[in-house]
Each structure stands twice: as C-alpha cells, then as structure tokens.
C-alpha cells in the first residue's frame, strides 16, 4: 500500500475530518432545506422579489467598488467601448433581474458565460449567440440568446460596440487582477511596486498608485480601481 504525503497534508487541513455525517446533520437544519425552494417558488411576490432585489443590490454594490461617483457612470453610459475589463457580468436570462455572476474578464465572453451559466441552446428565432451590453460602470454585461431584438436597448443599456476604450489600461487591469489572484497576501509595498511595474510595462500614463487601509506589517494588500480619478488603490486588510 503506497502512502501519499499530499493526501496526509490535505487531510490535516480538513476541518470536517472528525465529524460524522450525523454530527453534521445535527449542526445544521436539514429540514430547512426542504422548505427553501418550495417557499421561494410558492410565494414569488415576496421571496423572489426580495431575492431579486438583493441580487440587484449586490450587483450595484460591486459596481460601486470599481467606479466611484455617479458622474463617471453617466459619462460611460453614453459610450460604446468597454471602459473597464477588470470584470464582467454573466446573466442567467435576458433581464437584469435574472441571476448575475460577476467574473473576471475573458476574451470570449459569450462562450464563457454560456458554459458558466448553463444557458439553454438558442431557440430557432434567437438573435445571435447572446448579447453584449454595457453596464453603467462601463463594464460588460453578457446575456443569453433571446428572441428579443435589440436586447440592450430594451433593457436601457448601451450595446457594446466591440471596442475597448483604452486597450493599454485594459491590459493593465487584467494583469493587475491576475497578480492579485496569485499573490493573495502580499505586503503593501511589494504590491505597490508590482503595480508600478505593470503600469509602466503596459504603457499606462497618468495613473497613480495609492496605499490605503491598514498599514500594519501583517496587512494583506488588495486591489481597487478608481477609474474617474485614475488611481489604483492598494488597500491593506488585516489578515
């Protein structure tokens, strides 16, 4: 019998290893799960609306982190090119009220969202393979195939014109996101130096890197883009 040290290593990190299924069952209310879906579907006027409102609020909140100020939102709404590629939003259906999933930007948004959201195959009269619209923060919203023509317009959104507003900045945003995905608890100074290097490498001019949040030596650096003030915030968060 061979011994796998990787197995032993991961087992040591499994916080549930000493818990039996019965103990887990006792810790949580399994009965609650029986009712969750039924209540949601039988009382759509209350449960679903709350859920939808919560989701909309979460989308809006996430947008607010990336874009500060309503002025910037108003400006970007009237433009076709994508302003930020730090992330994009895949939608479950052809409405802003359907389940959203905010993901990192990818080169082929329709194919990616289709797979991620398990979109059903397009109907015979569906338009294209889906729709690409702009949200108010200038990021991409990706919708499944629909029979509605001009979906973006019908949702009050601008249709994506296939261009990036600033390709250099887009490259930097993607590189910065990737950097922080890999370096999950970097020191603030290291992160600042890395962002400066990336800005320079991608030829982005006029942007500043600012340190905010906790300045404790144990703080982990996290990232925020402030598009309207052309700033990259390195935010220190206590680990």
């Amino acid at each position: 019998m061979t011994h796998d040290p990787f197995e032993e290593l991961f087992e040591s990190l499994d916080r549930t290893r000493d818990l039996s299924d019965a103990q887990i069952g006792a810790m949580f209310s399994v009965e609650h799960l029986y009712d969750v879906a039924r209540v949601q579907y039988r009382e759509p006027s209350v449960g679903r609306m709350r859920k939808r409102l919560w989701r909309r609020a979460s989308v809006i909140a996430s947008v607010a982190v990336v874009v500060v100020g309503t002025a910037a939102a108003a400006i970007t709404l009237s433009r076709g090119p994508v302003q930020t590629v730090a992330e994009m939003t895949c939608f479950q259906g052809d409405s802003l009220r359907t389940t959203p999933d905010v993901v990192s930007y990818v080169a082929n948004p329709l194919a990616y969202c289709s797979q991620l959201m398990h979109w059903p195959p397009p109907a015979k009269k569906a338009h294209e393979k889906g729709s690409l619209c702009l949200l108010s923060d200038g990021s991409l919203a990706v919708f499944p195939p629909t029979r509605t023509s001009k979906l973006c317009e019908s949702l009050g959104l601008t249709q994506f014109n296939g261009h990036l507003a600033n390709p250099d900045l887009a490259r930097f945003q993607i590189a910065a996101e990737n950097y922080f995905a890999v370096h999950q608890c970097e020191s603030l100074d290291s992160a600042r130096q890395a962002m400066r290097r990336l800005l320079s490498a991608d030829g982005v001019v006029g942007w500043k890197v600012r340190l905010t949040g906790s300045n404790s030596p144990r703080a982990c650096a996290t990232l925020a883009f402030l598009l309207n003030s052309s700033e990259v915030d390195i935010v220190g968060i206590h680990s």
């Binding site: 011994h3 990787f6 991961f10 916080r15 949580f28 799960l33 879906a37 039924r38 996430s62 982990c220």
Partner: protein
Amino acid sequence: MSDAPSDAEYTRLVNEHSRSIYRYVMRRLTDWSSCEDVVSETFLIAWRRRDQLPPRDRELAWLYAIAFRVISNQRRARDRRNRLTVRIALERKGNDLEATDDTFDVESVMKIVKYLRVDDRVILEHVYWERLTYREIADILGISENAVGIRINRAKKSLKLIIDQDSDSGRLSEIFGRETEQ
C-alpha cells in the same frame, strides 16, 4: 406555482446529499455561519435547474459544481464590498486542529498551501477532500479531463517545490523528502 417540481424527488436529493454538501462547504469557508446560506442557495439553484438533474450517480458532483460557484460568487461579492482579495479557510487556524507528534503542524501546512496558486489549490482540494474522479473534477471546474490531469501534476510539483524551499516546513519537508527518495 404550477411548475413546482416533485417534492419527493427534491426531498430525496436533500436527504441523500445535504450532508456531503455541508461538508464540502465547511471545508472551504472559515465563517461557519455562512455555511447554511451557501448550502441553501446551492439547493435552491438545484431546484431551479431541476430539468438538468443528471443521472443519480452524477448528482453529487453536479451539486458540488453548484456549491463551488455559489462559494466563488459569495467570495467575489464579499471581496468587492470590502475590497478584499479572496482569502479562505487556509488563512486562519482551523477550529480545533492541533498539531501532534504524528500529524503535520497545521499552521505550517496552512502557510505552505497558501503559497500555492489558487487554481492549483482548488484542484488538489477536490482530489484529496472529495476524492473525485478526473471526469467529475472536470465537470465542476469546467475544464477538460486532460487538463485536470495536467493541473494536478503541476499543483503537486508546485507544492513540493514550496515545501523544499521553505526552511520552516520541518516535518513536512522530512516526509516529502523521504517519499521522493523511496
């Protein structure tokens, strides 16, 4: 609603798999109070997508895939709100875990694993925690079976390299070194 699914079918799904899903979520979240919300959301999505329910032998992996996305979404939402980058279970000391003579020092293990790329760590978690097949992991992560094999090898190599380079890894280094020599 007229489109209510079969209560019996849903109850069976919950009965058979809820504890496994709780375990899956608990392994990945430090905030145990969030576990119930994540599991509820997982089964709610399963209810909505009931027309896509796979054969019974693939149900659990299908639920894992949903839970994986719910956890990922929850982390992204939390990160956006707090400007936090993803930080999960490994950054905190596990609840009741304590190092003993015959186990790894959990703190040093957490430190080591934290240096792994996120996708490397995620794939090894599915191999060693849920003991899933390549096919099942491929379905959950949305990649090919071939890519799963490649990533597992890459992740193991990275982890081994990190352990070798970490002067504090002590017993870990000793065990992995011994394994390599054999």
